[in-house]
Amino acid sequence: MDLYANSPHNPMTAMRSNNWPMLLAFLAVFSACGGEQPQQDQLQVENSEDSALVADRMKKTKNIFYNIPSPMETASLLKKAGASYNGKILNDVKNVDKYTAASKQALNLGIYGADLSYASVFKHTQESMFYTSCSKKLADRLGVSSVFNDSTLEAMERSQNDRDALLDIISETYWNVDGYLKENGRDNISALMIAGGWVEGLYIATQVARTNDSPELRQRIAEQHYSLKDLLDLIASYEVDEPALNGVKSDLEAIAALFSGEEATTAKETTVSTEGGVAVVGGGNAQSTLTDDQLTAIRDKVAAIRNTYIN
């Protein structure tokens, strides 16, 4: 039996098999994601010698949060911008067992999480379940199974025909994993997961733009420089010499350089008016856009970086 017959990388099969019992497909891919857990490397964690450094960092950043648009919000923006769904560009579920180092597991938890959000927002439920299984497997290896467990999978399975409920469960799970990691002093894992999700979101957007290019989609891609700055600030808040974080920081800085010019625009004065009882906030920065060359450069750079994360 080909365990990958229903993989998202066989879209024809996935499309045709909508009537198959969900559980069968789900079990098949979960088996595909199964196997012995390989011995994993450890990401640097704080020890007693580092505690003063960590305490100092917490003191400085204790009350400053870095809000990076979630994979779900990014996928939703892409859909509104007229993007289409292309399951072929997503990370192969077969890759999940490659990730033995904690840093790779964290990055790919973010990547599979973004793929899961993309598939779910575009209502590709079966693929959503595949990516959920892979995400859960990585969450288990990272020790966050207490907030992402079998009951989460069961709840998703029960909600497979209710898109809104499914999106709510995915959002809550992502939030629980992020919150759990931060509460347990594993902010570096959380940052890698967020960075992986952000890179995958930009990768999806730039790949979709190959066939679905539109001014709206280009604008959404150009606007990613805002969240990129916040993401770099988040990573810069870790004053630890962590090779994985340092590598991701360099990667993100290389992407940021390609957005040059976007951040230099002068903001107009912010205005507030009311429309149907809702405040409309206007002004601010000029509309972002990208030249063809910029879009190509960003697409190629993000694809190359993402390739190092998933392989």
Partner: protein, 147 residues
Amino acid sequence: MRNVRTPFASTLLAGALFLVAAGASAQCRSFAKNKCVPELAPYKFNESFNAAQLAPGEEAEVNLTFFSGQEYRVMVCSHPILGEVNWKLVDANNKIIFESLADEPKHHFDLKAASTMQMRVVVWVPTKGKSDMVHVGCVAIMVGFKE
């Protein structure tokens, strides 16, 4: 005996404090999940965990990106032990777009972004006169968006 007991007691105390802090953090997530997230409806929760234990006099802030054409709900949710908190939404030039003060609190602000922009939510917990008791409670800054 005293020399032996002191490090032991210190370790025990440090351990107890760590457990209390970890427990308080978990309670913060639980509080935000149970009390704050439901109030975001009908907006979709943006999944970011922006919550911390704050004491009177302390501040928290977060930068937020609002995308053009999108509708958002920005909400600040504080544990009753702290009472009401002050918060404001300011633009890149620190111009106040919305403000809620503890004596006339508003827990959320709904907005539509006409253009993509970054704004900042600043929360500060008011101090309440002289008291030896310092209450620490969870404050969550939540954002919801309309799909």
